[in-house]
């Protein structure tokens, strides 16, 4: 289905001193843009670390080949001899300064080594403890200029980190660094879901002894108990307009999909099967829902109107397919595919119904698209421990992020920052 060309992309910088994740990239695209990320002038360990954030972000897409053809370190355009940097097609340089107010300011430029011209220059600044954000912003600018696609490195992800009996709901940068704990409980936490504006999360917590759905503002950390009906309250998923959520309740017996307003009013059941209907997720236009159901025997993915009504089965290959999520372009959906005892991340085209396996199998679950549709984040496992992985949406490049502590579960990629 696709050509797996495995090889390690060598990363520029040495391992950072305070890493909480180890990052490893495998695979490469057919056509890669060679780029040299020159060391920025300024505070050396810090500039190195920022450069490393940029390098990791770009490598993760599989679209870039990081090159260092020269050991020279020009910091100004006039110091650059373009011939030194071939075969790299692009070059970044710049300098980092600490401002009087304590903020960091990076002045950086992107140069085209073939045409020997500057593509653009930009100043990126942030508070001194937000130096990673500077790296992500630089990576976004480079990515956007050289590929024409919207960058996603400044977006955030959410997941559950379980360590012993402690369950933490966490948001982090798109590369898994910069964890911020939103909620910490001794009881399980499940199924985080981003509000479309990226300002709130809905999730399932067992803190009251059974599964109930909460929403929580990330800024104020204020929580709201959205659903505590008898039985299990689970699988929250926000509508694109942010006004309502699809949730799963089993107060009528089997687990069925309901709609509820974000303030907890206007509960309405919209699926009516004798089986389990769960994991609802809205299409980008809000008109339809994908969900998983065992109504046909095995667990498969179905689509129905977000007003309810009849459902169409979409998946037929493998023994089970579940955890569907729309590509933001609305043309494909990703999901977990189970066959022969292995879980794969797969992608299926709505029109052609062609299924493509994005991973080579293992314990791969809970995929979600980056908001630009170019990367898929999923839960994986190494030696019994849950980790994060990303795969490019063509399946060519994988990046694995291993936390130093805990067991990562239920990752989900957030929207563009607003």
């Amino acid at each position: 289905m696709f050509n797996f060309c495995f090889f390690l992309v060598s990363l520029l910088a040495a391992s950072p001193a305070l890493a909480v994740l180890n990052i490893e990239v495998t695979g490469a695209g057919d056509r890669q843009i060679g780029i040299a990320l020159l060391p920025f002038a300024g505070d050396t360990p810090l500039t190195q670390s920022i450069n490393e954030v940029v390098a990791n972000d770009l490598a993760r897409t599989g679209l870039f080949k990081l090159l260092s053809p020269s050991s020279k370190t020009p910091h100004e355009v006039r110091e650059v001899d373009y011939a030194d940097w071939l075969p790299a097609e692009a070059l970044t340089l710049g300098s980092l300064t600490k401002l009087a107010n304590g903020n960091l300011e990076l002045r950086f430029r992107l140069l085209d080594t073939m045409r020997k011209t500057e593509l653009f220059g930009q100043i990126v600044s942030a508070k001194s403890d937000q130096w990673r954000a500077i790296g992500h912003r630089v990576a976004d600018l480079i990515y956007e200029r050289l590929t024409g696609n919207h960058g996603v490195f400044s977006t955030r992800i959410a997941y559950v980190n379980r360590h012993g009996k402690i369950n933490r709901l966490v948001i982090a940068d798109s590369d898994g660094f910069g964890e911020i704990t939103i909620l910490e409980k001794s009881q399980p936490i499940m199924s985080p879901s981003w509000s479309p504006d990226g300002k709130s999360l809905a999730y399932v917590s067992f803190e009251q002894g059974r599964a109930m759905i909460y929403t929580q503002s990330l800024a104020s950390k204020q929580r709201h108990l959205l659903a505590s009906f008898p039985g299990s309250n689970s699988a929250p998923s926000w509508s694109p307009d942010g006004k309502s959520l699809a949730i799963v309740l089993n107060q009528d017996g089997s687990s069925q999909i309901h709609l509820i307003k974000a303030d907890g009013s206007a509960l309405q059941r919209i699926s009516f099967s004798g089986g389990i209907d769960t994991e609802p997720t809205f299409s980008p236009d809000g008109k339809t829902l994908l969900f998983s159901s065992d109504r046909g025997g095995s667990v498969q993915i179905y689509q129905m109107s977000s007003q309810g009504g009849s459902a169409e089965r979409l998946t037929f290959e493998g023994s089970q397919n579940f955890s569907p999520r729309f590509n933001p372009d609305g043309k494909t959906f990703t999901f977990a595919h189970y066959k022969n005892g292995q879980f794969y991340i797969a992608n299926q085209d709505f029109d052609t119904k062609q299924i493509q396996l994005l991973t080579s199998g293992g314990w791969h679950k809970k995929p979600s698209f980056a908001p630009n549709g170019k990367l898929v984040l999923f839960a994986s496992e190494v030696q019994g421990r849950g980790i994060l992985e990303t795969v490019s949406s063509d399946g060519r490049v994988k990046q694995r992020m291993t936390p130093q502590q805990g067991d990562i579960r239920e990752p989900t990629w957030g929207p563009y920052p607003q």
């Binding site: 399932v204 067992f206 299990s232 089993n250 017996g253 579940f322």
Partner: protein
Amino acid sequence: MKKVALSFILVNLLTACASTQTPEASQAQQGAPATAETTVISGQATTAAENTASAGTVAVNSEAATGTQAASTEAAQTAALPGQTEQAATAAATQTAPGTTDAAQTAATTGTTDAAQTAPTTGTTDAAQTAPTTGATANNTADTAQSAGAAADIAVKRVHFEFDNDGIQEADKTVIQAHGAYLSLNPTVKVRVEGNADERGSSEYNLALGQRRANNTKKALTLAGAKASQIQAISFGEEKPVDTGHDEAAWAQNRRVDIAY
């Protein structure tokens, strides 16, 4: 639909050897406070059971109750306490078989003793499961004796399930019988049935599957004599494995319903 139908049949099978509860008995038990959706932690439930026993009040109308539920209040109280010693349970089992033949009584008693020694052959690691599986051992005796044996058997607080299935298994029916009878005799006792699933599939599907297992267990307990209002069915899905391994042995342990007083 197929699974639901199958489990319904299993439940019916359970009912066949369950002591039937008359409408009068149900009415007699309506006096107990109905707190169906209240979360009952085990400590509270135990206290409730002890109170019931020490006060000597068991809200079963002895005229209305039939079969083994017509057991003397004394026996019921003795049998009722969770965490009670095996000897006491055995004694209770013998007492709670009024109207059975001597042979049946003997069988029940013998069965209990044998089971206490041989039960661990199920290969499970949970301490609770090494308790006597009386009814199963004494299964060649009269139904009454079997039920009486089962009534002593609430030390086993866990039932297991096949992969992606929510039907109560034949091997677990005596456990269900025992808890159903116990709850019937102690209508003020509340219990949580906690459904669990192995880690295959999605966490949300497994939450739903665990809920279905819990709901089926609740239904089976109800058919075995408990009132629905005594039982809260909840699910932990794949979130609370008893064995964190990634193999069938671990998964088999994790596909379970825990009966938590």
